[in-house]
Structures are given as C-alpha cells and as structure tokens.
C-alpha cells in the first residue's frame, strides 16, 4: 500500500476517532449506578473548579498521601469528567494521583494518573469502587534505595492498582480535591450529603501527619469545602441538597 494512502487513511481515522472519543467520553464500570446526582443548573461554562484542602508542602519530601474518599456519583452532563483524588506533586507540571472519576454517561471508574519529566501524561482506569463506601486511596513515593529504583505506587484499600518505576521526579507537595470541568456538572456532594475526604494524611517517611491545612475552593459562590477536623474535609455543590 502506498505510504501516502496509509497516511490519508490514518489521518482520516485519527480525525474520526478523535471526534468520537471527544464527543462521547469514555466510560467505566458500574454504568447503572446513579445515586446522589443533582443538577446544579449552572451555565455551560468550561473551566476547572476544585474543592478540598489547601495543598501542603512539607519541610521534607512527602512519601505518602492518603484519604478515605467517599465513592459518590455526582451529576455530570458535560464533563468531560468529574473526579475526587489524592496527589503527590512537584509544582504544576509533575504529579502522581489516584482516585475515582465519573463521565457524562453516568459511569464511574478508579483512575491513576501520572506524568513524566517531558510533559507526557498517562492514565490507567480500573473498576469502580462501591457507591457509599470510603476506600482509602493512597499515592506512595519510594526513593531509590538498596539497589531498588524509585517508584510511585498507587493503592485502593491497600491493594496496588498501579506502579511506576523508576520515577522521573521527586514530589514536594500533597493535596486532595474534588474536581469538575464545567458548571453544568455537580461538584461531588450536596449540602445535606457532602462528600467526605476523610483521614486525609501524609508522611515524610515516618508517622502519619494530618493534612491540617485550610479548606480550599476555587469558587466559593457555587461550591463549598469545610474543614471538619485536622484530617476530615467535606465538600459539596451549593446548588445541590444531595
């Protein structure tokens, strides 16, 4: 087959496939589960909104960050995705995170996302956790030691979902948030049924330390984040009771 023909076909396939995938976001498991959804009635406005805890940069390299993140099913109509997660990161260009996500057709999955040192991003998607449960999502950084290469390990309830080794960078900051990308979509949680980001803690290689930062919200007019204790944060969409 002439190379030009291959290029034409690949180009057409790329356009068609990309259009499909962008117009109909990818789904995960648990397609029938639609609980606690509430349309916030917001405008069709793209953007990035977070609600959770103010990121923490410990005095030394963070090694673990974890939170019991409620498995929730927020309303999402535009997306492309809504999520809740914990993360190790270094500035705005390097991160390693684990949590759950939901896409506009109502399906949910667990996800692990990480970056390298060159602007590349990777994501693995796994079966979703059971709604209403509070699995512990944890991101772990282990520096190279004793001949072993450095690694990021991503866990749910102590079970390893994914591992990256060697790592291309060293984390400096820990954070945990809920995240939406369009105002038609619900920030996880409602004012009568907030999303729990519980047992939010990190280590620098020793004992667990409570996150204990202020709550954080991108737009406090439409979303809320409340620090209930040094390690319990609750978030919700102000337009939604549940």
């Amino acid at each position: 087959m002439p190379s030009s023909s291959i290029r034409r076909r690949n180009s057409r396939a790329a356009v068609v496939t990309l259009a499909i995938l962008l117009s109909v976001p990818v789904v995960g498991a648990n397609a029938s589960a639609v609980l606690a959804s509430c349309s916030p009635g917001g405008p069709n406005q793209d953007g990035i909104w977070f609600a959770g805890a103010t990121p923490k940069t410990p005095a030394s390299t963070p090694r673990n960050v974890r939170a019991n993140i409620e498995e929730y099913s927020p309303f999402i109509s535009t997306g492309p995705v809504t999520s809740a997660w914990v993360m190790l990161n270094s500035g705005g260009t390097k991160w390693a995170q684990v949590g759950w996500q939901k896409v506009p057709n109502g399906t949910r999955s667990a996800f692990v996302q990480w970056t390298d040192n060159s602007g590349n991003v990777f994501q693995e998607n796994f079966s979703a956790g059971t709604l209403g449960t509070f699995p512990t999502y944890q991101a772990i950084y282990n520096p190279a030691s004793g001949g072993a290469q450095s690694e990021f390990v991503f866990e749910r309830n102590g079970s390893v979902l994914w591992r990256v080794s060697p790592t291309a960078w060293v984390p400096a900051t820990v954070q945990s948030e809920g995240e939406i990308h369009n105002r038609t979509d619900q920030m996880p949680g409602g004012f009568n049924n907030p999303l729990y980001l519980d047992q939010m803690q990190y280590t620098t290689g020793g004992a667990w330390t409570d996150m204990n930062t202020n709550s954080f919200v991108t737009n406090s007019t439409i979303h809320s984040a409340l620090k209930f204790s040094s390690r319990l944060y609750k978030i919700w969409d102000k337009a939604c009771p549940t």
Binding site: R9, L18, V26, V27, N89, G119, F122
Partner: protein, 166 residues
C-alpha cells in the same frame, strides 16, 4: 491497513466505513498467500503499533511480543471483544489496531491473554493535575487502549496517554 496480532494472524479491526472495510477484505484476500510467511516472522518479531509507541505501551504494562507457546486459544472472538471495547468507549467506528497480548488487570495481578484494542485519540483525562497552574494547562489525548479478557469478554482495564503544556 490490516494489522498483525501477536500470533501472526491478520486482524481486520481497522474498519473505517464500508468502503474501507471492503478494501480491507480485498487486501486480506490478496495477501492470503503471504499469511504463512507473516505468521512465521511474527513469532519472532516485536510488533510496532502506529497508535502508541513501544515506550508508551510499556508504561501501561504492555509489550507487543509474540505470545508464548501453549497459551490457550481465545474463547472470546476478536469481534466480540471489540464490541465490548467499543461499548466501553461508545465508539461506533471501532479500534484502529488490535493485538492479542499478555496483560494484567492491576499491576501485580497475574498476566493473562487479552485482546488489546488501540484507538487514536481519547477522552479527557480524569484530572487536569494539581491545583497549582491548573487553569493554564492544556492537554492532548493521543491514544486509548482497552484490554479485554479473551476468555470471559470482561474488560480488564483501560488506559490512555497524551501530553500537556504547562
């Protein structure tokens, strides 16, 4: 363009409309005489995907190497597996490439044979990264892969990759 599975048989998953499918079938027929030779070479050759690089696939725990001798034959057909992958992605056009590989559901779970369906492009990522600088980052989704258990038809896991600019 047809693709090679790791067991060396021709795969017809790259269907882009009726005309493309017809051309593909014709091509397969014309190439029938060479299948045996391709099968032989495929057993000793690492295949190259046009959708994702070997390094990208390695990040997702995938190598396009020949399956070891003695693995069980697929119970789930390539077509049925593709249907499961297409349903997951809501893609009516189907994958761009198909392979039969060894893969695991999670990092440390045992590897098993699976259909790997690769699609050009992909959906939005689950997150745009840290709070710091979130509003300025832009993303490009380059590929999506779906692994389907070729014995049960269940989706093992799926993955995606791309790049971003700060």
């Amino acid at each position: 363009m047809p693709n090679l599975k790791t067991d060396g048989k021709l795969v017809t998953a790259m269907t882009k409309g009726g005309r493309a499918r017809a051309l593909m079938i014709l091509l397969v027929v014309l190439m029938a005489g060479t299948v045996a030779a391709l099968s032989v070479s495929a057993t000793s050759t690492v295949l190259q995907s046009k959708v994702a690089t070997a390094a990208q696939l390695a990040a997702h725990g995938i190598e396009l190497t020949p399956l070891p001798a003695g693995v069980a034959a697929a119970v789930v057909s390539e077509t049925a597996g593709a249907a499961a992958a297409n349903e997951l992605l809501k893609s009516p056009k189907g994958p761009n490439e198909t392979y039969r590989v060894l893969a695991s559901a999670t990092y440390f779970s045992p590897k098993q044979t699976a259909w790997l369906y690769l699609y050009i492009g992909g959906p939005g990522f689950g997150s745009v990264g840290p709070v710091e600088g979130a509003g300025s980052r832009t993303f490009s989704s380059d590929y999506t892969g779906v692994l389907v258990d070729d014995q049960t038809g269940a989706v093992l896991r799926w993955f995606q990759g791309g790049s971003f600019t700060p």
